[in-house]
Each structure stands twice: as structure tokens, then as C-alpha cells.
């Protein structure tokens, strides 16, 4: 433990005057104790966070019989890797992956464009009724979205989007392009960028779009990446709507496809296989996070305005 702390210790000592050695040593001890406490706390919370996840993996490797044991086992008695194979095959996961990826990417890109433009307008431009409009937007978040489903379904049916290939994709993508959540999130981020930068750019004659692209977007990259992840995850997890509009496997998205695939005639779900499928589906998202975490977290430090 002490070895790991070395860099911070050096950092500390350099900052402290030499004639305060006594204080330094008690401070050192305090710091070690504090660090240990922090790690203990984080470790403990991490265990709590991890447990259900572990449980899911554990369940996904069991036979259905073992899954139904009254006293659940912490390690599967017989490990059934076949559940994953079956999940992939029976769940038709390959097709679902491609569909979801397609819908996810298209809707993320479009959604980002719309979100950036709207957030820019709210954060930087002055126009009549700005605050009222923003409040109205926030208010729309407060109505349970389930109520929209039926009206929206009637709308897209009347638009003729429920038939045909492009139509089905349009139905899956378009109604959810605008998210007030994301506009709000990005506006908050834009607001943190000093207005002086924008005014300076105006004086230089830089166009809005160029300013957005060169200054605002790089500075809010972390938020944009977070939005991307949230949006992709939305596509990954959306359930009610895709089930309603996607009438064949070729258009089904992963989450609604998942839940249906492992139910037998008795309406009895093969939970281990379902858990395996859930784990499989979670994996890409997880990898995306591991891969992009660097950008999300490190990118933030770059967005700090210096001077």
C-alpha cells in the first residue's frame, strides 16, 4: 500500500516547509489512514455493486433445474456453457445485434446533431421566450412516457411508417430522436464555457457552426460521449416500442427479441439461457464503456478553461 502512495507523498513533501517535519509525519499517517479508508469504502461499495452482476453470470451458467433450487448455489454445480450458445442461436442474436447497432448508430448521430444545435441555442443565443420554452421542454419530461405510446403509434400508422422496410426503421428511430434530457445536459455543459470565448469568436467573424465545431464540441466532448453512450444504451434497452412496431425478426431490436426467445409453451422462461443472453447483450456496452472511459474521464480535464 505504502509503495503505491509514493508519488503522492513526494508531491506532498515538496509542498510543505522543511521545519514542519513533525506535522508532516502525523499528516502522513493521517493520509495513509484516510487512503485506506477510502479504498475500504470504495471496495465495499464495489462489492455491493458487483454482487447482482455476479449473480446474473452465476445464474446464466446453471441448468434450469439448478436455477430453481430453493437454496441457490453460489457456484454452479455443473457449468453449462451451452446456455450461451443456445442464447446466441435461439435468440437469433446475430440478426438482433446488427439491427440494434444500425438503429443505435443512426439514431445516435441524428440525435447528437439535433441536441447540439438545440443546446447551443439555449446556452448561447438570446431569443424571445427562451426561458419559457426551456421550462416547457423540461416539463415534457415529467409526463409518464407510457401515455405517449398509443398516440404515437396512431401517428406513425397514419404517416404510413408501419409498413415497408425503411418505414419500420424510421418508426424505430425518428420518434425518439429528441431527448430533452440530453439537451438539458449539454446546455448545462455549454453554459460552463465562458461566454467571452463566443463573443471573441464573433468579433473574429467565426461562423456559429465553425465555433461550435472548433470550440464548443471539443470542450464538451465528454458530455457528448456520455450522450452517445446513453443513446446507444437506449437503443439497446428499448423494449415496449420496438415490440409494438417491429413485426418480424429482421427488424426486431435486441431487448424485445431477448425477452421473447426463451419462453416455452407453458409461458415458462428458461431463465439461465435468458440470463446468458442478457450477459451477452451487456457485453458490447460494457466494452464500449471500457474503451471510451478514457475519453469520458480524461476528456473532462481538457475541457477545463484555463485563463
Amino acid at each position: 500500500m505504502a509503495k503505491k502512495l509514493a508519488p503522492q507523498q513526494t508531491l506532498n513533501t515538496t509542498m510543505v516547509e522543511k521545519d514542519m517535519k513533525d506535522v508532516v509525519s502525523t499528516e502522513k499517517v493521517m493520509k495513509v489512514i484516510r487512503t485506506i479508508c477510502v479504498y475500504l469504502f470504495l471496495g465495499f461499495m464495489a462489492l455491493i455493486i458487483l454482487f447482482p452482476f455476479y449473480w446474473m453470470i452465476n445464474s446464466s451458467l446453471k441448468t434450469l433445474e439448478e436455477y430453481k433450487w430453493q437454496v441457490p448455489s453460489f457456484v454452479p454445480k455443473t457449468i453449462v456453457w451451452g446456455n450461451y450458445k443456445e442464447a446466441f442461436k435461439a435468440g437469433n442474436l446475430a440478426v438482433l445485434f446488427v439491427n440494434t447497432l444500425y438503429v443505435g448508430i443512426v439514431s445516435t448521430v441524428l440525435s447528437l446533431v439535433i441536441t447540439v444545435l438545440s443546446a447551443f441555442a439555449f446556452a448561447r443565443l438570446e431569443f424571445k421566450g427562451k426561458n419559457a420554452l426551456f421550462a416547457a421542454l423540461l416539463a415534457t419530461m415529467m409526463i409518464p412516457g407510457e401515455l405517449f405510446t398509443i398516440t404515437n403509434y396512431i401517428t406513425v400508422s397514419k404517416l404510413g411508417w408501419t409498413t415497408g422496410d425503411t418505414g419500420t426503421y424510421a418508426v424505430l428511430i425518428i420518434p425518439f430522436l429528441v431527448s430533452v434530457f440530453y439537451i438539458y445536459l449539454l446546455r448545462q455543459n455549454f453554459l460552463q464555457i465562458p461566454n467571452e470565448l463566443y463573443l471573441a469568436a464573433k468579433v473574429d467573424g467565426t461562423s456559429d457552426i465553425k465555433y461550435l465545431w472548433k470550440v464548443m464540441i471539443p470542450l464538451s466532448l465528454p458530455t457528448l460521449i456520455s450522450i452517445t453512450i446513453l443513446k446507444m444504451m437506449g437503443a439497446w434497452n428499448s423494449y415496449i416500442w420496438p415490440k409494438l412496431v417491429a413485426k418480424d425478426t429482421a427488424h426486431t431490436l435486441i431487448s424485445s427479441g431477448l425477452r421473447n426467445a426463451f419462453t416455452d409453451a407453458n409461458n415458462d422462461t428458461n431463465y439461465p439461457v435468458q440470463m446468458a443472453a442478457v450477459a451477452l447483450v451487456s457485453l458490447p456496452l460494457f466494452l464500449v464503456f471500457v474503451f471510451l472511459r478514457k475519453y469520458i474521464m480524461k476528456g473532462v480535464s481538457r475541457s477545463g478553461i484555463k485563463g
Binding site: Y153, S157, D248, A265, N267, D268
Partner: protein, 508 residues
């Protein structure tokens, strides 16, 4: 610190709500006793088989679909069919749709697996509002009641009787009557659905244990005398003396139990006509109170009360584990009621795997041998109205083909564990040989199907109307609550619980 102001506001919200909840006037029900169980039994026994027709099938409406002259005209139509079949069953369905297409090459059938039964209902109710509903769908009676609010379900009467596309009298008679009548339980006597594949509830018991301890299999619920050895009560008490840690009986579905008790006692549960909810009666209260005593002696449990599948309790074999020796559940779930195989060594040291105990299957206990009742479950299929009558006729042809084809019904039944809806399947060679091999081990599904088919004259279904699913939910809640809620005034609690359930049903 304004956060606290904010929290304070929230807290006030909560407190106001709580106080308001506390203010509702308590319905002071009296604590008088219900009628005695002896009286309930006597009443049930007074019902003779003939008078037991709890459902009225008199036709009072006019069918809403006129079959086009000449029936199906051979034109190109595409029809869609929503179901809940898993991949193994879908294979069977696809195979027979291919065969159907040999007969009708111009009818294209699209099938969609929509999830569970509830998913089918939700999807279709939404699609109905936009006019994009499928042509055919798996359905339960309460779904049909919902679809029928905008009168979108095709009455099958004219199609059945049509000279071109209809059914022969032999085909109609081939349907198991209980299943056939399920399509006519909507109050106007008209035919709304055809049965597709069915199941019922059966009593699974640990035959090895029963034989070893010389216990008779129960065929009725309540003891009429102290040595009434075939009553459930006697058997439970006896099992408890042999294995005190056991819970002798597990009943999977509390809703089914409640509704079946109403049917067996000959008292109303619901009605398809006005004044739908009729289960608030003395008889059912008395029965619930009796079951409460069972629960207190740990004689019985339900899936909700137990907290897990009651079949898990039944198939348990661990020496120090709590077990049940009887389990009432769907005949289609027989394989879940079979214990896992264990490896044993014979005298010569060879290892073989065997089932640790033999499972017996019989019909569920009754109130009266002259008024036997057992629930009928499983999907039916309904047809939706379309502007093109040819689509409706084509849908009918598919439905007729699937329900009257002996091969399909046999193959589907074997793959699903459900029983076929037509009687001639029993003569199908494959199906018959499967039935003949029925036992409480390897061929347990066949045994369940056999028991299921043996009692086909006792099937009942409860009336379907908009709200019948709420009634079912309340029935489930009611049984669980009545038998388990802690109280010092049992009668009062039961009275209130019944009134609550009625209020919930009548609310919407």
C-alpha cells in the same frame, strides 16, 4: 441549505398523503361467523350433474360476419398470426403451414412470436386503435373481451356452418365439448374463439411415499368424519405426523384454487352479464377461513405464499429439507414435477441413474363426486375483422386446418405438453403409443396428458368480460391474504378482504 427547504416540501407531501390515508373511514364489518364447512359440503353435494351448468350458452346475438358466397375465391391474400410459441413449437407450426400452403397456395401466412400472453394482448389492443391488428391471434378469454369492446372479433358461427368453408358435424363433434364451449362464454352464446391447445390442473403426488406409508390419494377436500382417509385434510394431517417439517400440499396458482373452489361448491364467482363480480359470498369466505387453518398448521402453500415454485418443494429429495408430497399444477408442466435423476449402484456395482421417487398423477380433489369441476386453460385463437372478407375466410381456413388436423394436433401436443383439442388424436398412432407408455418417470408428460383427457367432461371455464382478468388477480390476492394475513379478528379481516377485492374489481 435550500435543499432542505425542498426536502421539507417533499416530506410535507408525504405526511399529508399519510394523514389522508389514515382518515378514510373504517368499514366496521361485524365479526359474525360464516356458514359451516359441513353446510358448504352439503350444499355442494346437493348439486346434481345436470343442474351444474354454471354457464348459459343460449344464443342471443347475431353473428357479425357474412361468409362471401362461394367461400374462399382463391385470391392472393396475406394473413398474420400472433402467437407465443417458443422455437421448438414454431418449428411444428411452420411445418404444418407449409402443408396448408399445398392446399391453399395463394394464402401467405406470416407468424410472429410476440412474447407472452400479456404481450400479445397489449400489442393487439394498441394496434387495434390504429387498425394494424393481425388476422389471427393466440388469446385468452379476457383478451377477447377487451378486443370485443370495439367489436373487432369475428363471430365464427357463420363460418362454422358455411357449406363451402365450414366444418362437418363430425368435425364439430370431434372437439372436446368443454374446450369448444370456451368460445361461447361471452354472454351472447355466439362463438368467438376456437380452442388451440389446452391443459388442466392435476394433482401430482409422491407415489413412492404414499405407497410406503399406506396413504390413500385424496379425492375430496374436507373431512366429513375423523376416519375420512381420502380427504385432503386427513392426508395432510397424516403426512405431517410422518414428516413434521413438510408442507404436504403445494398449489401453484392461488387464483385457480379460488375460482375452482367456487365452481366446485356451486357458488358464483363472476358472471358475463351485468353485476359481474359475485364472489363475495358466505361459502367462499367459509372455505377461505378453513384454508387459513390449513396454512396455520403448515399443511399447504401457494407459489406466492411460498416465495418460489411449489414444484421445487415437491421434487426436493434432500434428507434434511422441507418437502411437499402433493402438488397441484398445470398438466402441461409435468416435467417440472419430476425429481432430478440420481445415480445409484446396484448389487453388481453398476451405476445407473434413476428417479428417486415415482410420481403419481390424478385429478384434483373435489367437493362433490356428482359435480366434479376442473379448470381448463391454454390458448384459443380468435380472428379479427378485416375490410377484405377474403382475409377473414383465409384466416378461418388456417384456423380450421390447425384445429382439425389430427397430425398437427398430435405433433403439437407431443412437443408442448398440452393436450389436443380434438378427441380423434387419441387414435393417432404416435400419440396413442406415447399415451400407452405413460408412467410417472420418463413418460410423465404422457401420464399428465392421459389424466387430463380422462376428465374431459369436468372442464369448466369462467365467464369472460372486460374486467375478468382483474377478478382473477383479485381472486389470487384474496386467497393469499385470507390465509396468511396476521389478525386477531379473522372473520372481520376476511369480510374486509372480500369487500376490498370487490371494490377493486368494480373500480374501473
Amino acid at each position: 441549505m435550500n435543499k432542505f427547504k425542498f426536502l421539507a416540501t417533499m416530506l410535507i407531501c408525504g405526511v399529508v398523503a399519510t394523514t389522508a390515508a389514515g382518515c378514510k373511514n373504517k368499514n366496521e364489518s361485524d365479526d359474525a361467523d360464516f356458514i359451516s364447512i359441513e353446510q358448504v359440503i352439503a350444499n355442494a353435494k346437493a348439486i346434481t350433474a345436470g343442474s351444474a351448468a354454471s354457464q348459459d350458452y343460449t344464443v342471443t346475438g347475431t353473428p357479425n360476419f357474412e361468409v362471401p358466397t362461394g367461400g374462399y375465391d382463391g385470391s392472393e391474400v396475406t394473413i398474420s398470426f400472433y402467437h407465443t410459441m417458443g422455437s421448438n413449437l414454431k418449428t411444428v407450426l411452420d411445418k404444418y403451414i407449409e402443408k396448408f400452403n399445398v392446399l391453399y397456395p395463394h394464402i401467405t401466412v406470416n407468424t410472429t412470436q410476440v412474447g407472452g400472453y400479456d404481450d400479445v394482448r397489449t400489442t393487439i389492443t394498441t394496434q387495434l386503435t390504429a387498425g394494424t391488428e393481425p388476422n389471427l391471434a393466440y388469446c385468452y378469454p379476457d383478451h377477447v373481451a377487451l378486443y370485443n369492446i370495439p367489436k373487432k372479433v369475428v363471430h365464427l358461427d357463420n363460418l362454422i356452418n358455411d357449406t363451402n368453408v365450414g366444418m362437418t358435424q363430425a368435425q364439430i363433434d370431434d372437439f372436446i365439448p368443454g374446450y369448444w364451449n370456451e368460445g361461447r362464454q361471452f354472454g351472447d352464446g355466439l362463438m368467438y374463439t376456437l380452442p388451440f391447445s389446452k391443459s388442466t390442473e392435476v394433482l401430482y403426488y409422491n407415489k413412492t411415499f404414499f405407497t410406503a406409508n399406506n396413504i390413500s390419494v385424496p379425492d375430496h377436500w374436507f373431512s366429513e368424519s375423523v376416519d375420512d382417509t381420502t380427504s385432503m385434510e386427513y392426508v395432510c394431517a397424516k403426512i405431517k405426523t410422518i414428516d413434521p417439517t413438510s408442507i404436504p400440499l403445494g398449489y401453484d396458482s392461488a387464483a385457480n384454487w379460488f375460482i375452482t373452489m367456487a365452481e366446485q361448491c356451486g357458488v358464483p364467482y363472476t358472471s358475463a352479464k351485468e353485476d359481474h363480480y359475485q364472489f363475495n359470498n358466505e361459502t367462499l369466505k367459509a372455505v377461505m377461513k378453513r384454508f387459513r387453518e390449513w396454512r396455520q398448521q403448515d399443511w399447504m402453500t401457494t407459489q406466492t405464499l411460498y416465495g418460489s415454485y411449489t414444484s421445487g418443494l415437491f421434487v426436493e429429495t434432500g434428507a434434511d429439507k422441507s418437502k411437499s408430497y402433493m402438488s397441484i399444477g398445470s398438466s402441461a408442466g409435468a416435467t417440472h414435477q419430476r425429481p432430478a435423476k440420481v445415480t445409484v449402484e446396484d448389487d453388481e456395482g453398476n451405476e445407473t441413474s434413476v428417479y428417486p421417487f415415482d410420481v403419481g398423477i390424478v385429478e384434483i380433489p373435489q367437493m362433490s363426486s356428482t359435480n366434479k369441476k376442473v379448470i381448463s386453460q391454454g390458448p384459443s385463437v380468435c380472428i379479427f375483422k378485416k375490410s377484405n372478407p377474403q382475409e377473414v375466410v383465409a384466416s378461418w381456413l388456417l384456423l380450421k386446418y390447425l384445429t382439425t388436423s389430427v397430425e398437427f394436433q398430435a405433433e403439437f401436443a407431443l412437443a408442448s405438453g398440452y393436450v389436443p383439442v380434438i378427441q380423434s388424436v387419441e387414435q393417432n398412432a404416435t400419440y396413442a403409443s406415447e399415451l400407452a407408455a405413460a408412467d410417472g418417470g420418463a413418460h410423465i408428460a404422457a401420464l399428465a396428458a392421459k389424466v387430463c383427457l380422462e376428465q374431459k367432461q369436468h372442464y369448466y371455464t369462467s365467464p369472460a368480460f372486460n374486467g375478468s382478468s382483474t377478478a382473477r388477480e383479485q381472486a389470487e390476492a384474496l386467497l393469499n391474504k385470507c390465509v396468511s394475513k396476521e389478525t386477531s379478528t379473522v372473520n372481520k379481516m376476511i369480510n374486509e378482504a372480500f369487500q376490498d377485492a370487490i371494490d377493486e374489481c368494480e373500480y374501473a
